[in-house]
């Protein structure tokens, strides 16, 4: 998905001379084409993310549409104050693009686990936050950020994520159904872990529980009306994210339900900080945190049985 996103950006830079890409010394086998085709609008700033975001702000003040690129915590957390003060306060046209969302680099340890970034960015003024689930959504997320002006955050994974959409999607929407059902159990998921949500929905359906999985790539601004429309006939809402259960999708849904006065129960599934010292593959860590397909299905069944 990261290659798809950057390819879309590289093509757009062909016709839009405002597009500028900065990276923090990462992007091997991903950014080369952009650098070769647009050498005057690509800079590897070195391992210096705070400087990267400040430079992005300066370039945006000069009229450029700037994208910054690094791994989640370096792209967001290391330079959070520069994103807050220099970019968001001034409503500058800077999109932070992060790779390694969730457990994409799970074996590399907590430094490389993207587990709080959606919360950090969602709290910032004017920031649009996109968490695409597969390559099709990543391409649409690129179009989404290219079409707007202002601070943005796109959380990508790495490569070879399962394809959840059969074809390209025309436009990044707040909610993309991943199955044909409109189940009483509504499973909302953001990022590639939406594939696990779909597996869970299928398992539950086979067991006679009408569940459906919906990808939720736009965390902010959250489309409250579209969300409330989805609630018709829903008896349980479940959120699944490769992120802690606060600050991101689960919090957004909980806040929205509370504000709407909706009485539908909510089950939030995601990363548990108590597991932060455990390393391993993405599959292994999803299992540990109870967010692979089987675990999600089991936790939903348990939730249904407790009622």
């Amino acid at each position: 998905m990261r290659n798809t996103f950057i390819e879309r950006l590289t093509d757009a830079a062909e016709t839009d001379s405002r597009i500028f890409l900065l990276c923090g010394d990462l992007g091997y086998s991903v950014l080369e084409a952009f650098a070769e085709r647009h050498p005057d609008r690509f800079v590897n700033v070195g391992v210096a993310e705070q400087n990267m975001v400040g430079i992005a702000a300066g370039l945006a003040l000069s009229g450029y549409k700037v994208f910054t690129y690094s791994i989640v915590n370096f792209a967001v957390t290391r330079c959070l104050e520069q994103i807050r003060n220099d970019v968001c306060y001034h409503e500058l046209d800077v999109t932070v693009v992060a790779v390694g969302g969730g457990f994409a680099y799970g074996a590399q340890g907590y430094s490389h686990h993207g587990s709080e970034d959606v919360g950090f960015t969602r709290m910032l003024p004017g920031m649009h936050v996109a968490v695409p689930a597969d390559a099709a959504e990543a391409a649409a997320a690129a179009d989404y950020m290219l079409a707007r002006k202002g601070p943005g955050y796109v959380r990508l994974a790495r490569g070879r994520e399962p394809q959840l959409h059969r074809a390209e999607i025309d436009e990044l929407a707040s909610f993309h159904r991943l199955d044909e059902r409109e189940g009483a159990v509504l499973i909302l998921a953001s990022g590639p872990v939406a594939g696990e949500a779909l597996t869970a929905a299928n398992l539950l359906f086979e067991a006679g529980i009408n569940a459906s999985a919906v990808s939720t790539p736009i965390i902010k601004p959250f489309d409250v009306d579209a969300f409330c429309a989805l609630l018709n006939g829903t008896s349980l809402v479940v959120t699944v994210e490769e992120h802690v259960t606060f600050g991101g999708l689960g919090s957004t849904v909980a806040e929205t339900l509370a504000d709407a006065g909706a009485s539908v129960p909510l089950l939030r599934l995601g990363i548990d900080h108590k597991n932060r010292t455990i390393v391993g593959s993405q599959d292994y860590l999803r299992n540990i945190n109870g967010i692979n397909g089987h675990a999600i299905a089991a936790r939903i069944r348990a939730k249904l049985e407790e009622r």
């Binding site: 070195g46 210096a48 400087n51 400040g54 430079i55 702000a57 300066g58 000069s62 520069q82 220099d86």
Partner: protein, 272 residues
Amino acid sequence: MPTDMSNPATLAKEVRRAVLGMVHRANASHVGGCFSMADILAVLYGGWLRVRPDDPAWADRDRLVVSKGHAAAAVYAVLSKVGFFPDSWLDGYCEDGQPLAGHVSSTGVPGVEVSTGSLGHGLSIGCGLAMGAQRTCPESRTVVILSDGELDEGSIWEAALFAGHHKLGQLTAIIDFNKIQSFGAVTDVLCLDPLADKWRAANWDVQEIDGHDHAAIAAALADGGRSAGAPRALIAHTVKGKGVSFMENDLAWHYKSPDTAQLAAALAELDA
């Protein structure tokens, strides 16, 4: 601009007078750091910066980033004195709902390029502005004013390496080296020596000047004798609180606001 404001000596004095009134009215801090950079601002706005007070967004203008955002009173004072907005705005410094915030704010304030207040941000923004100007309006120059205390921030040195590497020759950093940071003397808190060598090591042209000598500041800002493409660091040796004897070299005036008697005494010294 009123003609006398193109005279740095007049402008510096007017800035100091205005700052005293502002911090007194608002019961605000940071008069010391405003006074240490007042002469630098006076030379910059006394004719060096190519800016248009009646057209603040003029595309080919020079850009000034005041990274030491706590010296906001001096920035607003100089902008009003050269005509970016009326003097009367200064009365609203730090007042409810007014645009002139206690740290440099660009929102609704003509002539301010970017808001600052957290230290260590401005040089990176300046790098971006200079790189943007390099590609779109090469005549435009970028100046960043830094405090000595903020050189403790790692991001400053990220930007220093970057500017040297990318040969941002239209970028000038002026360090207001008043030797006193927020909670002690620079030499006691985190020694910067040898400061000039640090910038030279990052491939900057470096000059050390008396930051209160208008002719010396102007000479340093002139373009002679520079290495091709090197960014320029001017280490301006200054005195915190410069211009009012009882404020000079005293950490307390990073925080204190002059009371009515102190205000009168300070104004009298400036007029003497």
